[in-house]
């Protein structure tokens, strides 16, 4: 049960959050089909850090970007989602 430091609400239990997807699998509606399929259906899936989109579903309902280590669960950063985030 991780502790996620929501930029809007402060530190909250993971039970209030839902994982959505990795940041690099966000697909915009104007992307070409090949890119859409590549993004939707492939993941780096690293045994280390990745950038993930989560939602504080049972709190402020905002979309957050977690830089999180998948083996240790250490969270290096939690930021509000911003569409111009470099991937």
């Amino acid at each position: 049960m991780m502790l996620i430091d929501c930029p809007y609400c402060g530190e909250r239990a993971q039970a209030e959050f839902t994982y959505e997807r990795t940041l690099d699998s966000i697909v915009s509606l104007d992307m070409p089909v090949e890119e859409v399929l590549a993004r939707l259906f492939s993941r780096a899936n690293p045994r280390g850090e990745d950038r993930e989109l989560w939602r504080h579903t049972f709190g402020c309902r905002q979309w957050l970007v977690l830089r999180r280590h998948r083996r240790t669960h250490a969270i290096a950063a939690v930021d509000p989602y911003a569409p111009d985030d470099p991937e």
């Binding site: 049960m1 259906f41 993941r43 780096a44 899936n45 993930e52 998948r70 669960h73």
Partner: protein
């Protein structure tokens, strides 16, 4: 291979159990193998066994990072069944079930496959229709499935809460009588011993750290015990498919997630059948030792920690008590976590990859154990011939791009919804 039998056991008893040999050798890696299987779980070991036994390919090494059977083979709820709704799935899993039925004899190792029945409970008329539909699909494929009335369910599992105001009232069930459980560790050990007897090198403590490429083709692997050449390399490391595929620069339609299970202290027999549910992620069975083995929801976020969310275990306990109230005072003695290879349609991938000489068997989600022999059989076919076994052909790597996905749950590409 010294054969196991009751007589051999008796003789050994008279000589202080001295006569047994090693179940499998501890070979040094050779410089080159026809086929290298990365991953010494049940799937990898059975692949190696069938490569040698069925296809006569004996120059085979299974490379295991740690100890064989230490991944998801040893971290599941040991349930074996084939009653999936989608035809490609139930055909593959039923082929596996057929192999389970003769596995102990074939391997000369008692894997304790125990067809005590796999029962799905229905909690509403809608559930019962879903179960009937699944059963009808199975029966039309020649696979056993039987709808049960509430009374019949109650007779089979007398401790179920049959009251109409139960939170999950029981309207009946669908049973696959050929389903059941097996001793998970024994599957890895039995295949390792039988493969070893066929000349396969089972090499433990040998981590693959890279792939050797030449001319756009995989020609071997780098390991912690040196470079090993290979004609074909088969990845078989469900739970770690992503990092291994990344060695070839590939990304997969797979995300690693944690699935937990737990077992209670042993008690005298109280539940003889594997009990599951059409609308809950809840699995209940009793091991031969007497512990009630319970499983629940996956953790629904990516992780390799092999450490899960306590609230998932708590939910599984709550649902188990709702179904079998007498479980309330039993105690969880141990829990474990597997890293599952969650594929993006919920079905496995047994396929060539877009790199020559490299193959993948993975993406088994939380359902791989029951497929072990069938998975190995089909993967051995692919690695020996370069062609997909007909049963495995639908489980291709490119099905996501073409749209020919096999989505049993119908929830799409987000593994956390599965």
């Amino acid at each position: 291979m010294k054969r196991y039998s009751a007589m051999a056991l008796l003789r050994a008893g008279l000589t202080g159990q001295r006569g047994w040999e090693r179940a499998w050798r501890d070979p040094e890696p050779k410089p080159h193998y026809e086929v290298i299987v990365i991953g010494g779980g049940g799937h990898g070991l059975s692949t190696a066994y069938y490569l040698a036994k069925v296809h006569g390919v004996r120059s085979v090494a299974v490379l295991e990072r740690g100890w064989i059977g230490g991944g998801n083979t040893g971290r599941n709820t040991t349930i074996v069944r084939s009653n999936y709704r989608q035809k490609p799935l139930h055909d593959l899993f039923d082929f596996a079930l057929g192999l389970w039925e003769g596995m102990s004899d074939a391997l000369n190792y008692n894997v304790m496959f125990s067809p005590r029945g796999a029962l799905f409970l229905g909690h509403s008329d809608a559930d019962m229709t879903q179960l009937a539909q699944r059963g009808d699909a199975l029966r039309c494929s020649g696979i056993d499935a039987e709808l049960m009335t509430p009374d019949a369910v109650h007779r089979l599992v007398p401790l179920l809460d049959m009251s109409p105001d139960a939170r999950f009232p029981i309207h009946g069930g669908l049973i696959q009588r050929r389903g059941g459980t097996a001793r998970h560790d024994a599957v890895a050990w039995g295949y390792a011993r039988a493969a070893d007897a066929q000349g396969v090198d089972v090499i433990q403590n040998c981590e693959v750290t890279g792939l050797v490429m030449a001319g756009g083709r995989v020609t071997g692997v780098e390991t912690t015990r040196g470079t090993i050449g290979a004609g074909r390399v088969g990845i078989c490391v469900a739970g770690n498919s992503g990092p291994v595929a990344a060695m070839a620069g590939l990304k997969l339609p797979i995300e690693a997630q944690t699935l937990q299970a737990f077992v209670t202290e042993p008690v005298k027999p109280m539940i003889d059948t594997v009990v599951m549910s059409q609308s809950l992620h809840c699995y209940i069975s009793q091991s031969d030792k007497g512990g009630i083995v319970l499983g629940g929801d996956p953790d629904q976020f990516p992780s390799y920690a092999q450490r899960g969310l306590p609230i998932r275990l708590e939910k599984a306990a709550a649902e188990a008590i709702a179904l079998v109230p007498a479980l309330s005072r039993l105690r969880m003695v141990r829990c474990w976590s597997g890293t599952t290879d969650m594929s993006f349609d919920g079905s496995p991938i047994i396929s060539a990859l877009p790199v020559d000489g490299l193959y993948l068997n993975g993406g088994w989600c939380y359902g791989g154990f029951k497929a072990t022999p069938g998975s190995g059989w089909c993967y051995a076919h692919l690695l020996a011939t370069g062609e997909s076994h007909p049963l495995a052909a639908p489980f291709s790597f490119d099905r996501f791009a073409t749209g020919a996905t096999i989505d049993e749950a119908g929830v799409g590409f987000m593994p956390q919804l599965r």
